[in-house]
């Protein structure tokens, strides 16, 4: 649980780094301004963008240590093999994530900063969900759910739909990360319309006009037609996800008693998605204020995590769906017709 909470905090600091556009404020890696990362004097990182970037690195190292401790303790505990393996995956995941963060800095000068930034963001989301799943699977409640007697015999379609919906949310988060790591600010500055239309004009003349009008203190990159379309896809997917999570919540409500684990997950999931859609709109209305944009990213991470927990809980609690039985003999057919 400590690793999960620390990871969420780390993800939020990382979000602030991107929201403020200060990912390159410490230009070297693994050192920081030539110092060992842990020995950078306070007066060198107490200001501006360096504070966020260097805090992110230190916090990342802390989460790395926590994850190593988690993996070691799982390995030497009496837990199911799957948990041991998940602990190892988490450990290698956090190492990979640290390297990706470094590559995002080192390869920026070669024009690969944004690409590594998106991968770094995507792995962060997966890692956060993974440590939360591990946290859930190490609870006493998880063990109780495993008792055959406590298994509710309900509609098991949630076993299929919850993971699918979680994957759709992950795809949405990748689109969001791609938008954020273009460092181009808002590709569309208004909502619910887009440049005053239902679908914006993406001709080269129109895009040139949009760019000319984007006067700001921050040196955002120019936007492209592709980025405008990407934001429109992000909006459409948001509506779709909101509708599908609502359906999922309704189905859970109909098939599970109030207070049951899946009902609680479904309630939380729907609430998060509604908050997330609202934050998406507020991000635009506040001209992508760093704290709001970071909150939008963080609630996205929580939505993915809730989907992942809902999915593993559904697998734990719901019976395997049975295929319709196919009559295999004439006696069987006779029995059915009788």
């Amino acid at each position: 649980m400590a690793t999960a909470v620390s990871t969420l905090f780390l993800v939020c600091i990382g979000g602030m780094v991107t929201s403020k556009g200060v990912g390159m404020s410490v230009p070297d890696w693994p050192n920081s301004y030539g110092y060992n990362m842990f020995l950078l004097p306070w007066d060198k990182w107490s200001q501006g963008g360096v504070f966020w970037e260097h805090s992110h690195r230190l916090k990342g190292a802390f989460v790395g240590l926590l994850t190593m401790g988690l993996a070691i303790s799982l390995w030497f505990s009496r837990v199911p093999d799957v948990l041991r393996k998940l602990g190892l995956v988490a450990f290698f995941g956090v190492v990979l994530q640290g390297i990706l963060g470094g590559f995002r800095v080192v390869f920026d000068k070669h024009g690969w900063g944004a690409e590594f930034g998106v991968i770094h963001a995507a792995v962060a989301q997966l890692f956060f969900s993974l440590v939360c799943v591990i946290a859930l699977m190490t609870t006493r409640r998880w063990q109780l759910w495993g008792d055959a007697g406590s298994r509710p015999s309900k509609d098991s379609s949630l076993r299929r739909w919850a993971p699918v919906l979680t994957i759709v949310i992950f795809m949405q988060l990748i689109i969001g990360a791609s938008m954020r790591h273009q460092h181009a600010g808002l590709a569309i500055p208004d909502f619910p319309l887009a440049y005053g239309n239902i679908w914006p004009d993406t001709s080269s003349a129109a895009v040139a006009g949009y760019n000319q009008a984007r006067v700001s203190m921050i040196s955002y990159n120019d936007i492209t037609a592709g980025q405008i379309i990407l934001q429109m896809v992000h909006r459409l997917m948001a509506y779709t996800i909101a509708a599908l999570v609502t359906v999922c919540w309704w189905r859970t409500r109909k098939t599970h008693a109030s207070g049951s684990p899946l009902r609680r997950f479904a309630n939380t999931w729907l609430a998060l998605i509604l908050v997330q859609v609202t934050l998406g709109a507020v991000t635009i209305w506040t001209k992508k204020a760093a704290d709001v944009a970071t909150a939008h990213m963080a609630v996205g991470a929580l939505s993915l995590m809730t989907g992942a927990l809902f999915s593993v809980a559904a697998f734990r609690l719901l019976p395997v769906p049975q295929s319709p039985r196919i009559p295999s003999s004439s006696a069987d057919v006779a029995a059915r017709t009788a």
């Binding site: 403020k20 556009g21 200060v22 990912g23 390159m24 404020s25 410490v26 230009p27 070297d28 301004y33 030539g34 060198k44 200001q47 501006g48 963008g49 360096v50 970037e53 920026d108 000068k109 070669h110 024009g111 440049y195 003349a205 129109a206 040139a208 006009g209 949009y210 760019n211 000319q212 009008a213 006067v215 700001s216 203190m217 921050i218 040196s219 990159n221 120019d222």
Partner: protein
Amino acid sequence: MNKSSTVLSLALIAAAPSLIAADLTGKVTLKGTPPAAAQQPMKENMCGNPEAYVIKSRQFVVGKDSGLAGVFVYLKSGTGVDGKKFAPPAEKPLLDQIHCEYQPYTFGVLAGQGFTVKNSDPVLHNVNSTRAKKNTGKNFGMPTKGQMNDLMFPNPEFIQFRCDVHPWMLAWVGVFENSFFATTDADGNFSVKNVPAGKYQVVVYHPKTHGVNEGIVKEVTVGDAGAKESFEIEYKAP
């Protein structure tokens, strides 16, 4: 007339067309009303300035008679530049960081010509060249007041400089293929010096307006007495 002075005279006559050089001058104006400059309020003693002050965005700085400041003007091709190589001068322009602003906002260098980046502030800046496609980007810290670093880009393109510690800090460096370039002053005036007489394609590039596009290209004939040309950049509100 002795032999050597005859040879010198003949050489001067042969080189005469390329020795006739004059200035290409003019003005770049903005048509339309751009958005108001964005502002960054700064408290006293920030970035070495004892007084509170306001930093304004410089994407559109409009002066007298709609003159647009900070626009690059350069010769793309023509009589005096085609097929010629230009040796980078030893002179190094200065890009200063003072009170958390880059000064100047735009300036040009010849490809291969060095320039100096200075930190005049008592705070750390990082100098980050972005949007470089034909040159390897640079990003380094300048923690000490008075620190100077020399930079050089070998390939022509427009490069944006920013400081990620203070994300509002922004400057543009134009790296050019030949030595015939200028940037407009506060009132949009420019002067490209010592252009050999001939026909040229002149490009006017405003970073905010033209982005990844080339800019305004115009055919200009420079005579023995030079040439004067006006260019108009249009602000098209979306």
